[in-house]
């Protein structure tokens, strides 16, 4: 086909994403754009079309990247092809954001007119700029009484340093200003570059496992054309496959087409059974006519948070394994390997991008796979340098070598930016101090808002830092972080003994200075979590065999149902059934019944603040 045909399409294509701080209206804007370009009538629209996981809808967050092609007839009379790629908004999923950005040429920055710039606004804009995207801002929620569009306009110019003079003022919710956004996409986002005549060169930016078609590979074509029947090669893995189908993204569906050429975003299938053969970040080329060099990939997401996952019913172990394998098909950042716990039996050590990622996976396992799970204390990866000169990466506190054989340990440190209104600077600084933060700097954005810069041990922020931050700033603080590296630290392993028996699933690594405090709080919390048993249950925290804290759950004294009236046995039985249900939520460790939630709840020490 003539190259001017391809060029014509390419010139009319815009590949872009929308970036925003969480809740600033990214998904709503995407929905309006889909609606306005006539792809769906509003009756067909389900709220937030692009968030198609049940969990995403419920939580109002985007977890997986999604993409959709829109056709927009602009005021200049030309029909443009928009490839809108939705990106996750949470810091845990920065990795997903960055790979989605690689498929785009520009980005719409959505800023909430009532809140202004927040931590993730900055983080996401910086990510977009790093990827050389052209970013233009829109100011959303102008219909709200507390909207301050002019202030926000200045803030965008002052803080981010991008032009905001003609930023569209919109209300995605009310459908105001959507036309302006669509026009701005045409004007401000560049058409993709690339040459359809060159050998195929396409970037894999996501993938999805489908049990009928195998792996569906999401790709951005940089050069060349991909079409059905073509032999393609994954340049990093070397896998060669035959393309079965190519297509583009309709809302919530895949629409096959003949080919995808340079500049286009779409998908292909090739009966790929193993998602590892279509690695995100890899370059796809034609087997017989390869391109000279692969595109720069991006580094694989490293799991940062680890925990043990155990089926409450040990017979469900194979089910848990199957479920994890299935989830991993669509989530390469999920890591797991088998492990055994004395307290909990057979399970898996799992690695996640962050705590939200972990919660999402847990919830999906429980809901979609109907598994009843026990999770152990989430922890980070420590580097343990032994006296024999070797180093191990420790993901499970139970595997800590004999302290005599440890030379020193290192823990991961993050650089954190916390955006906060000035009245809460005090409490937030105190929180960071409590979490062993190292203060770096305060930058004032305007008279009443500042960015606090800290270095914090990752270990200190994975449990409940976000909740504590919100509660100490009445919800006003926002937070973003990046892994900085490893630093030597004085770390010890804390064991928790229940009825004198160490419960391996409750062991964790803690900084020596905070050990006493943590131990005491853990014991107090466990005392609340463990219901009274038929005997006194001592709960102890120990470091290196030395008991540093103790509480006792007193023996159950009285638990008798009163009168059973007029032979109403059913009512009595219901009460016993309720009691039995409660017991089912327990894990018997040694001789003690511990509620499954306790393993997770004991970690939320700061939630009451």
């Amino acid at each position: 086909m003539a190259s001017n045909h391809y060029d014509n399409i390419r010139e009319r294509t815009r590949n872009f994403c929308i970036v925003a701080h969480i809740d600033h209206g990214k998904s709503t804007l995407a929905d309006r754009m889909i609606e306005r370009t006539g792809l769906l009538t509003s009756r067909e629209m389900q709220d937030q079309v692009l968030d198609n996981m049940e969990l995403e809808r419920e939580r109002g967050i985007t977890i997986k990247s999604q993409a959709v092609r829109l056709v927009y007839k602009a005021k200049d009379g030309v029909e443009y092809i928009f490839n809108l790629i939705d990106t996750p908004g949470h810091v845990d999923f920065n990795y997903e954001v960055s790979r989605s950005l690689a498929a785009c040429d520009g980005a719409i920055l959505v800023v909430d007119a009532t809140q202004g710039i927040q931590a993730q606004t900055l983080a996401n804009v910086y990510l977009a700029l790093e990827h050389d995207l052209d970013v233009f801002p829109v100011i959303n929620k102008i219909d709200l009484p507390s909207a301050m569009p002019e202030e926000v306009r200045h803030e965008i110019e002052d803080v981010i340093g991008i032009e905001a003079e003609d930023a569209p003022l919109i209300s995605a919710k009310q459908g105001i200003g959507i036309e302006d956004v669509l026009e701005a996409v045409v004007e401000k986002i560049p058409a993709p570059e690339g040459d359809a005549e060159e050998p195929l060169k396409a970037l894999i930016f996501d993938s999805l496992y489908d049990s009928y078609r195998g792996v569906i590979v999401f790709c951005r074509i940089r050069d060349g054309v991909i079409k059905k029947g073509m032999q393609v090669r994954m340049m990093a893995t070397g896998a060669v496959v035959e393309v079965v189908e190519v297509g583009y993204f309709g809302p919530g569906q895949f629409i096959p087409c003949d080919e995808l050429a340079a500049g286009q975003v779409g998908y292909f299938t090739a009966s790929i059974k193993n998602i590892k053969d279509a690695r995100v970040g890899d370059t796809v080329t034609e087997h017989t006519r390869p391109c000279a060099e692969p595109l720069p990939g991006y580094k694989k997401a490293q799991p940062m948070v680890f925990c043990g996952l155990y089926p409450a019913d040990s017979a469900k172990y194979p089910d848990l394994r199957d479920a994890l394998e299935k989830l991993q098909l669509n989530d390469a950042s999920l890591f797991f390997e088998p492990e055994t716990s004395l307290a909990l039996g057979f399970g898996f050590r799992c690695g996640f991008l962050g705590l939200l990622h972990m919660e999402v996976i847990l919830e999906r396992l429980e809901r979609e796979y109907d598994l009843d799970l026990i999770s152990t204390a989430p922890g980070v990866v420590y580097k343990v340098f032994k006296t024999d000169g070797t180093m191990i990466e420790l993901t499970n506190p139970s595997n800590l070598p004999d302290p005599a054989k440890i030379e020193h340990m290192e823990e991961p440190i993050v650089s954190a930016e916390i955006m906060v209104t000035t009245e809460f600077i005090g409490p937030i600084m105190q929180l960071c101090q409590e979490r062993r933060g190292r203060y770096l700097d305060t930058e004032y954005i305007e008279a009443t808002r500042a960015v606090l810069k800290y270095e914090l041990p990752l270990n200190e922020i994975i449990y409940d830092f976000f909740d504590a931050l919100k509660s100490r700033s009445r919800g006003y603080a926002s937070f973003d972080y990046d892994l900085k590296g490893y630093e030597t630290s004085e770390l010890v392993k804390m064991d928790i003994l229940v009825n004198k028996e160490p419960v391996d699933a409750l062991s964790f690594i803690v900084h020596a200075a905070g050990a006493y405090d943590r131990g005491r709080k853990m014991c107090e919390k466990l005392k609340e979590e463990i219901p009274r048993q038929l005997f006194d249950v001592p709960i102890q925290a120990a470091v290196g065999g030395r008991i540093i804290a103790r509480e006792t759950v007193r023996q159950l004294r009285k638990d008798v149902l009163a009168k059973c009236y007029g032979g109403d046995i059913s009512r009595k039985k219901k009460l016993l059934e309720k009691q039995k249900e409660g017991k089912k939520r327990m894990q018997i460790v040694g001789n003690v019944e511990i509620p499954k939630e306790a393993f997770m709840n004991v970690l939320k020490l700061d939630a009451g603040n």
Partner: protein, 397 residues
Amino acid sequence: MSEYNRGGPVSLYLHFPFCERKCRYCDFLSGPAGEETREEYVDLLCREIELRAGEITAPSESAAVVDSIFIGGGTPSLMTPVQAARVMDTIRSRYQVLSDAEISMEINPGTVDPLKLLGFKAAGIGRLSIGVQSFDDSELHLLGRIHTAAEARETFHAAREAGFDNINLDLMSALPGQNIETWSHTLKEAVSLGPEHISAYSLIIEEGTPFASLLNAGELPDLPSEEEDRRMYHFTKQFLASEGYRRYEISNYAKAGYECRHNCGYWTGHEYLGLGLGASSCLGSERFRNPDKMNDYRKAVNDTNEYDPVNAMRRERQTLTREDRMEEFMFLGLRMTEGVSEKEFEKRFGVKMEDIYGGMLHRHLEQNVIRRTPDHRIALTEYGLDVASYVMADYLL
């Protein structure tokens, strides 16, 4: 024609859902009503008694054999002696009431006088259960009872005068503001009257009662501390034992031979037919309840056909599976201090108790909440009785 085969005599429970005023802790199916409503209810009840006789009459019997009757409420002593007599006569006309049948009625001291008690006696009531609850007037007031301690004593004496030689006193512990002094006073007063039977229940604050909202609003005195509660509880056991009352069930104490047969029937799988608004029944392998809304009940009675009484009246029907029956055998039987018989279990279910509950029995024996008697019964220990619910829940399959 009966639709099922019974094994032996049945018990009857009759519900009288009216009271003079609802007590503040009460969540039973009861409430105040005028005389006309009460009269109409007695009519309905009598009609139901007649209609349902066929339901429990075996083909070999001319009338079903009844070995105990319990008239509960509400406040059944709000019935006039004439009404009570009508109810009893109706029963006798359709059922074969054994000559030594236990026939109990609950009475509230605020609703009876010597004449009325004589009337109940004449109607055929043999056993009275007096709702005393406390011999402390401030506690009675707090509970919303309509009588004083002195009136309760008078009622007891009048009952004796009327010839009642089998009397129970209902008492309540764990009341807000109660302490070991007021409770031991109540117990001593009760014992000094010399009743044959004492029921000592712990107050449970039920959701939806005025007590629950008052307690939440902080408008009641504090509930006894756990320590105080425990002291009261132990005092009850020791004191009543020393006075010749044997604890035969979790909350029930009796002089030898005066255990409430009707109540024991509930715990040992005896069949019973509940008559009246919302009354529960257990017949054969089915549990069910009567309609618990008055309009619904009235309609059901009026719609009931003598030849097919089952369909209109039986609500919340539940066919007990073998597992259900095993569970009930255990958790109901364990309420009795003599416990459950391993032999009886095997006889009923054709499998050893050990085979079904082996692991749990072992665990509970080790935890010293149950014991095995020389005659192969499994019974709660002293501590097991304290934590009975905790233990019983483990016998649900």
